[in-house]
């Protein structure tokens, strides 16, 4: 084998390596049934989320987001990797609605809870009654406080 061929093959292998490695380590935004934010996985099917909530007797946390919203990135970086937040999120059924492309059911949710800019959160009962609204970005401490408030609202019903 000539040096040039050897070099070519070495660089080709390197390119394949870069391709494989980068594809496998790219952070996943969504797959068929979930979107991912920080360490959390959110359902994307509205009906399924509502049914799960009714079956498990849990409140639903709806998250209205978009790919271009910088405060959503702040949520990903601060809130959704925080263990205290994640503990509390376990008590909710999580449902994420991308404000940019959404099904009629999602559009409906958007209108019902008046969510017209990202990020917004609403905690609701499986029947759709509003528990707590979090408009815009909340620092992690107050985000936790909101979640606690939603939980106690839910328990008092």
């Amino acid at each position: 084998m000539t040096p040039r061929k050897t070099l070519t093959i070495a660089l080709l292998i390197m390119a394949l390596g870069i391709g494989y490695y980068s594809m496998n380590t790219a952070s996943v935004l969504s797959d068929e049934s979930h979107t991912y934010h920080g360490d959390t996985a959110w359902k994307t099917d509205v009906d399924e989320a509502m049914e799960t909530a009714a079956a498990e007797d849990k409140p639903v946390l709806v998250y209205f987001w978009t790919t271009w919203c910088t405060y959503c990135e702040d949520y990903n970086k601060n809130a959704y990797v925080d263990p205290d937040v994640n503990d509390r999120l376990d008590d909710f059924v999580l449902l994420a609605v991308n404000l940019d492309d959404s099904s009629p059911e999602a559009k409906d949710l958007q209108q019902r809870y008046n969510a017209n800019y990202p990020p917004q959160h609403v905690a609701i009962t499986p029947d759709g009654e509003l528990l707590v609204e979090i408009n815009g970005y909340a620092e992690t401490d107050s985000f936790i406080a909101y979640l606690d408030e939603a939980q106690s609202e839910w328990e008092s019903r």
Binding site: M1, T2, P3, R4, L7, T8, L11, M14, A15, I18, G19, Y21, S22, M23, T25, A26, S27, V28, L29, S30, D31, E32, K77, V81, D101
Partner: protein, 804 residues
Amino acid sequence: MIGPALIAGSMLTGLVATVLLFRGYLRRDNDYVSVITPLIGVTAGLLVVALGYLTYQFVVTDYTNAYVWNNTANYIPLLYRITGVYAGNEGSVLLWAALAAVVAFWSAARRGIASSDAKLVQGLTVGIVTYFAAMLFFDSPFTSITEEFPEMGEGVAPLDGTGLNPLLIDPYMAIHPPVMFIAYALLTMPFAIAVAHFISTIRGNGGLFSDWIGSITRWLRVSWLFLTAAIVLGSLWSYRVLGWGGIWAWDPVETAVLIPWIFLTATLHAVMNYRSRSTYATLAPAMTATTFALVIYATAIVRSGVFRSVHSFADDGIGLALLVLLAATTILGVCLPLGYWLLREPAESADDSQPWLTRANLLHLAVLGIGLLGFVSVWGLSFPVLNSYITGMEVEVTGNYYNLWSYPIVLAMLLLLGFYMDYDVEGRRRALLSLGVFTTATVLAALVAPTDSWLLATSDTNDALFYQLIGSVSALSLLPPAAYVCLTVINRALEYVPGSPSRNYQFKQVGVAMVHIGFVILVVSVAFSYLFTAQSSVIVADAEQEAALDDSGVHDVPDSAYAVEVSDYREYQRPEDPDVRNVAFSVDEVTARGDSIHETVQPVYGTVTEVNQGPEATIVQLDDSQIWLGVVGDGQADVDVSEGDRVVGVGYVMWDYLPELSQTDAVVVTDPADIGTMTNPPAALDQTRVQGSAVGLTVYEGGERLASGEAGQERYLQQDGMEVRNVFVDRGLAHDTYVIAAVDDGTASLTIRQIPLMNLMRISTGVLLAGMLVIILFDPAYGLVRAWSRRTEQPTTTETPSDD
């Protein structure tokens, strides 16, 4: 009808020329050869006239053309009316087609088409031009407004256009697209030559690359010059438009244009090293052919909108047509060479004793390295799409992917470049020694970060290992390789330039040195500029009051050396003095249009000559004519108009509405809210396009007055309320001061950025471009300037074969 006829004509003549060319090539005869060049000339002429005609329609705002109506408006000044020509798909394809046709004609006229090779090359070039013409025939920039919107009624021309994307209203955007399309058009020729080379080789006719190598080199170099200039202009535009991430963000569109550029750079290096029977006999033509396929790939990405929504890929005609072209150029430019290489290329005699360290091998490594850099960009754009098609999973590719993968490759390439330049002059031992020294210095520098802002990326424990590793490397590591390249390039130029008796050769060496040094300084300044941009902000709550004072306060900007003073505050709108006659018909115009606008909503103005107030309606005669305004509905009795008033109303034009009144031809049925005076027209005729707010600022740095200027924002009401910031940039020696203002209700929120090394960047791109120009002109082998002095008469073979 003129426009479509021009397009159809160019498509026909182009088609005939293409068919005759291929026929002549296949039959190996010279029949019709005398008519082919004129035919190509006619094709080019028709396309240029079509482009000129479209430009004319924009200049005179001929809104009977839907494309004009869609891409300009009355308030837009002349320069940006011309920008409108290539603001949309159809216009930019026309620009591209016209330029490519001119290139084809120029080369046919210069070189002739008598030889069989030339026929094949021209057949391919004119074939591409014809394809563009066909695209324009089916998706024309000359579609009339009535064809686009049949409901508007026959013969109706809107009085004002919908406007131009505000982001394009910028001097850089007026020149960036033409420069880009010149580069794209020029690349058609090397593509055709390379593809013809493979066709000819496969058919046993022996290829044509070595005969045409001079021509190819010139086309490639000139394309590179224009493509580089286009990217630079695009970056300068992006710098002025807030929200585009400064001079460079890894936006898909920006990445897309970088791909052909990187690849073209690699191709130039491969072509330099082309030898017909040995080195790069296949790779150089293959890369030449592939470059154009990548241009089409880039265009398809930019134009199809695939990266904004995966689903709208082939929705519109141009998108699909580009996909077909992409497939065709990929087959010809990528698959054909690849197939030839795999199946037919004569096997090179394997010689294990070949030494590793040769100039040819080093250049090969450079070509591969640049190719790898290009791959990083191609892959970054492509794999999220591939991934979501295959697995349904969406993944995120951020600037970090591009920056962190490219960084080590760029470092390695710089070290290689330095080594090559050194090896060329100083020989093996010395070169290896200095490579060792500079590589060690690079590795050590990578570990030294004076502050956190020297690190390439803020590392995050969630990131993959590689990203964490490279992200925590210090940018200081860029300096040793950069110094290495500069030293060795200058050393080599000093060695080669004085020693050579050929003036052209000397110039070329200076050009080579300029290109490489310009590039290295550009890389360093871009990286450092991004890492060391400092930002701080301040809110001036009483900006409007302060502007009115003679001696307003100076506000210190926290965490910075800056202070600002508001000296002016204004709110404005455009157009400044709207004239209702721009958007409404006169009585004569309504009469002339007659029945064709029956039952359509139209604005009409005129002087009141009679008023009849009834219980159900008030009807108002205009200009003593047969045209009346009829005001109906609640409040019609309160409409206050009297004879002599100049009024305007919007409503349904009803022809023969009141047959019992012989002096009425038409009544424009309107309601009280839609009638007004010409100086105070109803809201429906409000012509305000742009609402702007701006503050005049004086900026101080370290207590010294730095500069004064204006910053603010403009809202484009008829374009979804799109907002554009007008930034204020003060160019300083060491850094730019960049002020962004959000002005609202008398309050100004100011963000001040200190962006370092902008001048170094400007200078280095200038050096880079000037260096390439020098090479294009003075290359002793293929330069445009042949005889500089008598001393160039010595044979060019004295030039060392692969010298850059």
